[in-house]
């Protein structure tokens, strides 16, 4: 067949159900709103690293599914999370991205979170400590004991990442949520304290899942000269993609030949604990988190979906807290050479998803996006994305290839097979 007409172009591909998705899942604002409610507000999300809150009274702010969140370290050194919203008039309590409550603010006293609007104050456990002119205004009708902050589930887990879940009813710990997906890197990340050394962000006009897809599939090696020159060999193509419960995946390791790229060097001397020299593992956590360990440097991508066609990606780089200044400097160079904002690979990934976003904006005609490569679940197999979308379909009860249909009616099901047959017939007739 040569170039296709509209009917052919929009027809279902000659692949099995589950091997392609409808681009509406990347562009439909109603689906996006549903994702925030049903997925992002119910999942464990790593929001920062504990080294971003080193001291008692340090804080960090962020948003999950548009809800303002604040993470604080108490005087007892425990990390807790709250909605960053004053229970009085709904004001955002802390506006800065990070800082310390050890010093007072223009409206408040030291060691408290203070809402600048009317000076209500809260301690590091979220208890209301002060209501300005309380008795004059509320008499005995409302007391500070009645207006604590909204506490959130919070765990420090997996090398010191701070995980938050907005859903009080979540019935699993982070470890249970990970379902084994983190195990491959746990010995390396838990051996000794880690420390953040890098942060930057990008806001890209594409759906968050397109970035996650890029982290889940390596067929896009053709985008990266670096990957091809340092990777393409038998061991590389034998790397396994493995799926875990709850939609997470691992990308197996191999030994990267860094010295094949001009100006680059082996990372053996600074390998993370328990990691074979120059090895490279990736973990993609549902619904939009990536941990990526290349020998000497750990990268974490955290996605904050902003709209159906807009995502903020925060990039963090981490090393060992025990690094000497020289070790840290080398580790940072290793990190930046590929993953820094002026590095060789990251920018190329941003280019690619931007171009996808340009074709899958909210008003774009829906298209068929292929996830159908099978290569024995190795590096260029697209089983990682298929595994993700199976989970996604379950959470939303939508069929990724036809999101107006229920997932129960989906991949492998009788109805889906019948639909595939109908479409194939229609395509042949066209």
């Amino acid at each position: 067949m040569s170039a296709r007409n509209h009917a052919q172009w929009t027809a279902a591909p000659k692949l099995k159900a589950g091997e392609w998705v409808d681009s509406r899942i990347y562009s439909d604002q109603a689906i996006f709103e549903e994702e925030l409610q049903k997925i992002w507000k119910r999942s464990w999300i790593p929001v920062c690293h504990e080294s971003e809150l080193k001291n008692a009274y340090d804080f960090r702010t962020m948003t999950i599914a548009r809800e303002p969140v604040i993470v604080v370290r108490g005087n007892d050194m425990k990390v807790r999370a709250f909605l960053n919203v004053c229970p009085h008039r709904g004001n955002m309590i802390e506006r800065r991205p990070s800082g310390s409550f050890k010093r007072g603010t223009p409206s408040g006293t030291p060691k408290h979170m203070t809402c600048m609007f009317h000076a209500w104050q809260f301690d590091m456990k979220g208890r209301c400590a002060y209501i300005s002119r309380c008795e004059e205004g509320y008499q005995k009708r409302l007391r500070k004991e009645d207006v604590g902050l909204r506490k959130l589930n919070c765990e420090v887990y997996f090398g010191g990442f701070v995980w938050v879940c907005l859903d009080d009813d979540i019935d699993m710990t982070v470890e249970q949520w990970a379902a084994g997906a983190l195990d491959v890197l746990s010995p390396s990340l838990n051996a000794e304290p880690l420390e953040i050394f890098h942060y930057h962000k990008a806001i890209i006009p594409c759906n968050y899942k397109l970035w996650h897809d890029t982290n889940c599939e390596f067929y896009h090696d053709y985008l990266h000269y670096h990957n091809r020159i340092t990777g393409f060999n038998d061991a590389y193509f034998a790397r396994k993609n493995s799926g875990f419960k709850n939609g997470h995946i691992n990308v197996g390791s191999f030994e990267v030949q860094y010295d094949q790229y001009e100006g680059f060097e082996s990372r053996e001397a600074l390998s993370f604990p328990h990691l074979p020299p120059n090895h490279w593992y990736m973990i993609d956590m549902f619904p939009g988190v990536n941990f990526n360990l290349r020998g000497s440097a750990l990268r974490c991508d955290l996605m904050t979906p902003l709209a159906a066609d807009k995502v903020m990606i925060e990039f963090r780089g981490l090393g060992l807290a025990s690094d000497t200044p020289q070790q840290r400097r080398t580790r940072i160079d290793h990190h930046n050479s590929i993953w820094g904002p002026f590095g060789r690979n990251l920018h190329e990934d941003l280019l690619a998803v931007t171009a996808q976003g340009a074709c899958m904006h909210q008003a774009a005609e829906n298209r068929r996006i292929l996830h159908g490569r099978h290569e024995n679940q190795t590096i260029h197999d697209e089983n990682g994305m298929r595994h993700y979308y199976e989970e996604w379909g379950r959470w939303l009860n939508r069929l990724p290839s036809d999101p107006d249909r229920a997932f129960a009616d989906g991949a492998g099901g009788r109805a889906a097979v019948a639909r595939d047959a109908e479409r194939e017939l229609a395509l042949e007739e066209a």
Partner: protein
């Protein structure tokens, strides 16, 4: 030897601006010829988010030569950058053999690829804001960069950042 500080300051400023023109034109070889053999390049930023000084890119002369030489093998955004630079402060050492400067720099990006080039091409956007902290060696009339630190305020860096700033 007497040092004409005013003339030297002007020469240093001219070198800073010449470097901007070469970088704007992606003329990396010419840019690097303005640099000493011991040249050190850095892009840095302070992150209020993690409360840490960060290095985004660093290397010596040969590292920069490798990096710029390899650019053609990579997929880059095609939108050109233009540096608007003002040398606020140039200090020449008493012996006239070195100098330091602080310049304000803003970089604009005129879209070529854009998100959709049909719509965006031709539009100019602010790409980043920062300062250059430069050091120079002076040998008679020959002035070379020995150090450049591009210290950025900008920490949101979308596509378009494959090149030294």
């Amino acid at each position: 030897m007497s040092v004409n500080y005013a003339e030297t300051k002007e020469a240093v400023k001219s070198l800073i601006y010449q470097a901007c023109l070469y970088q704007d034109d992606l003329n990396w070889d010419a840019w690097l010829k303005l640099c000493d053999a011991d040249f050190q390049y850095r892009i840095c930023a302070y992150s209020p988010e993690i409360q840490a000084d960060m290095i985004y890119l660093s290397g010596g002369l040969e590292d920069m030569r490798s990096l710029t030489g390899m650019l053609s093998k990579h997929n880059s955004d095609h939108s050109p950058l233009r540096r608007h630079c003002v040398a606020y402060q140039v200090t020449v050492a008493e012996d006239g053999r070195s100098a330091e400067s602080v310049s304000s720099v803003t970089v604009f990006q005129t879209q070529l690829d854009g998100i959709n080039s049909h719509v965006d091409a031709g539009e100019s956007r602010l790409f980043l804001v920062g300062r250059y902290h430069d050091k120079f060696s002076i040998n008679g009339g020959d002035i070379k960069f020995t150090e450049r630190t591009a210290r950025l305020d900008t920490r949101r860096l979308d596509k378009g950042s494959h090149w030294p700033i």
